[in-house]
């Protein structure tokens, strides 16, 4: 027995003859937040639909806390809270009415419904919106109602499809904090194409492109990949590249613009101090030095691009 909350085994989905998702497998344990990344049309939403039982996989299976989604859909679905890409809100109802229905349908026992609704509203910052019609709420508040609906029955697994779309920066911060909070005791899967968000919120990242998993691992691995082994140096009077190469550990030097130079050093070497000393001694007019971070975007593009070349 393992204690995986979500197990996806060889998920494949065909639309016509085209594979929208092909052979996606992963596990998720309690207390983890999984970020699902990918360009548009990569199969993120399709995978999420399969995980939540909204779409039958052409091949493969999904287990939620060990319960098979195909064999015991009702038991499995009871453990999931899901917010699809298009918010499933009944706009003619008020926030309270809608959340009460959500609680009731998700088997919250009659005595606890009121408490569950209050708690969900509090966690999503909706307490002062109770009696408003959902129709009349702003986009951001509607999104919060969608999230409240997904966590109202305190599910083991929360699956949110692009939860921060349409929110203002403060709301985004609140929602991220909420995701972290939920993720500390349950499992959360979020999909997004905002990369910094993944870095802030998730423990695990999966990058999916054209229906295939391109990257699957801890966020640290991705971060390491992006910090790399480069330094960016800004100087008023930059020297020739050859002069920099003399410094121990430096393997490559190139000038980026007339004042900027990029230096690649060997793994394990720390040439920064030596460079600074040389700059002072020779009067290069150094005014800035720092690691040259490949942005997460670059890593992302690299990973999805490699896949294209391979294909």
């Amino acid at each position: 027995m393992n204690d995986f909350t979500v197990e996806a085994i060889g998920l494949t989905r065909l639309y016509g003859g085209r594979e929208a998702v092909s052979n996606v497998s992963f596990n998720l344990s309690k207390g983890q937040v999984l970020g699902f990344l990918g360009p548009n049309g990569a199969g993120k939403s399709t995978t999420m639909k399969m995980l939540t039982g909204n779409l039958a996989p052409s091949n493969g299976s999904v287990k939620i806390c060990g319960i098979d989604m195909m064999e015991n859909p009702k038991e499995a679905k009871a453990l999931i809270g899901y917010l699809p890409e298009m918010r499933p809100l009944y706009k003619e109802l008020t926030v309270d009415e809608y959340l009460t229905i959500a609680a009731r349908l998700h088997r919250v026992s009659g005595a606890h419904i009121k408490k569950a609704v209050e708690l969900a509203k509090e966690r999503c910052g909706l307490s002062h919106m109770s009696k408003r019609l959902i129709e009349n709420l702003s986009n951001g508040y509607q999104q919060r109602v969608g999230i409240a609906q997904a966590i109202i029955h305190n599910p083991m697994v929360v699956i949110l499809d692009e939860p921060t779309v349409g929110l203002d920066p403060i709301q985004i911060r609140d929602i991220r904090a909420l995701i972290r909070e939920v993720g500390s005791e349950r499992s959360v899967i979020i999909s997004t194409h905002i990369l910094p968000e993944v870095e802030m919120v998730c423990d695990h990242v999966q990058i999916i492109d054209k229906g295939k998993l391109v990257f699957n691992g801890a966020i640290d691995v991705l971060k390491k990949q992006r910090i790399g082994n480069k330094l960016l140096i800004a100087m008023n009077k930059p020297p020739k590249a050859a002069e920099l190469l003399k410094i121990a550990g430096v393997e490559e030097a190139e000038s980026v613009s007339d004042q900027l130079m990029r230096v690649r050093f060997a793994d394990g070497a720390t040439p920064a101090e030596a460079i600074v000393q040389a700059a002072v001694a020779k009067g290069w007019g150094l005014y800035q030095i720092g690691p040259d971070q490949t942005s997460l975007e670059d890593v992302f593009v690299q990973l999805t691009y490699q896949e294209q070349e391979a294909a």
Binding site: R13, Y15, T46, K49, T52, G53, N54, L55, A56, P73, K74, E75, K77, A78, I80, Y82, P84, M86, R87, P88, L89, Y90, K91, E92, L93, E97, I101, A102, R104, L105, H106, R107, Q149
Partner: protein
């Protein structure tokens, strides 16, 4: 769980003016027919001298009102049933139900029961209205009960068919038109075969099966017909929604 889905449907129906307006208009027209029926009764009966020509007030007024009601629901049900699934499909709220721990059968039965519960308000109201005749006359409650059961079964059959047509399209209006045409054809099927009443197709007509109830007779064969009618269309709806999950 079925009850919870039905409650949700009822809430949605009463949350929009549509439900209230249809209820009010139907009540108004039934009330008018009832009043006319009572007036006509005295006019007609004062002319009917021989005992064989005389009918009871329950039957006279009842036939008037129930006959009209069974015709009016032909317009009302498509308007109410059209939104059941197609509206959810259009505003993409179906995943809310699909990802809740509910089976498709529960969802469909819940929606069906929600609509029938709403329409049964009408049936109860008509029954209560006719019962007020008892204040002045000694009426035949059996007749009213049989008619109410008949009307309820007919309304339930309409709803099942409406639910199915609502599940095959995204456009509520298309669902309403399809439902109306199908119901209209089924209602008047027996008219087309008026020359040959023993024709098998004629016995598919909804009106024909309502006839025995209208006369005050509860016939198990007719109950079976309505039950099968409802069961078939609910099964078709479940199949249609399952296809959504399979085909995406």
């Amino acid at each position: 769980m079925i009850i919870n889905v039905a409650r949700k449907e009822l809430k949605s129906m009463f949350a929009s003016p549509m439900g209230w307006v249809i209820l009010a208009l139907l009540m108004f027209s039934f009330g008018t027919y009832y009043l006319n029926g009572v007036n006509d009764y005295f006019a007609v009966m004062s002319g009917a001298m021989r005992p064989a020509e005389r009918t009871g007030v329950t039957q006279f007024v009842g036939q008037n009102v129930y006959g009209f009601a069974s015709f009016m629901v032909l317009f009302a049900v498509p308007l109410l049933s059209m939104r059941l699934v197609s509206e959810e499909r259009r505003s993409q709220t179906l995943p809310f139900l699909f990802s809740a721990p509910l089976s498709l059968t529960e969802i469909v039965l819940g929606k069906f029961l929600g609509l029938v519960a709403f329409l049964s308000i009408l049936v109860v109201y008509i029954g209560a209205m006719l019962s007020t005749l008892n204040i002045w006359a000694d009426i035949d409650f059996g007749f009213i009960v049989a008619n109410s059961i008949g009307l309820l079964l007919m309304v339930a059959s309409f709803s099942a068919l409406g639910l199915y047509f609502s599940s095959i399209t995204q456009q509520p209006v298309v669902a309403a038109i399809l439902t109306f045409i199908a119901l209209f054809a089924l209602m008047f099927l027996d008219r087309f075969f008026a020359g040959d009443p023993s024709n098998t197709l004629a016995s598919l007509s909804l009106t024909r099966h309502f006839q025995s109830f209208a006369g005050g007779l509860i016939d198990t064969a007719d109950i079976a017909y309505f039950a099968l009618f409802i069961a078939s269309f609910l099964t078709l709806t479940v199949r249609r929604l399952d296809a959504d999950r399979l085909r995406g």
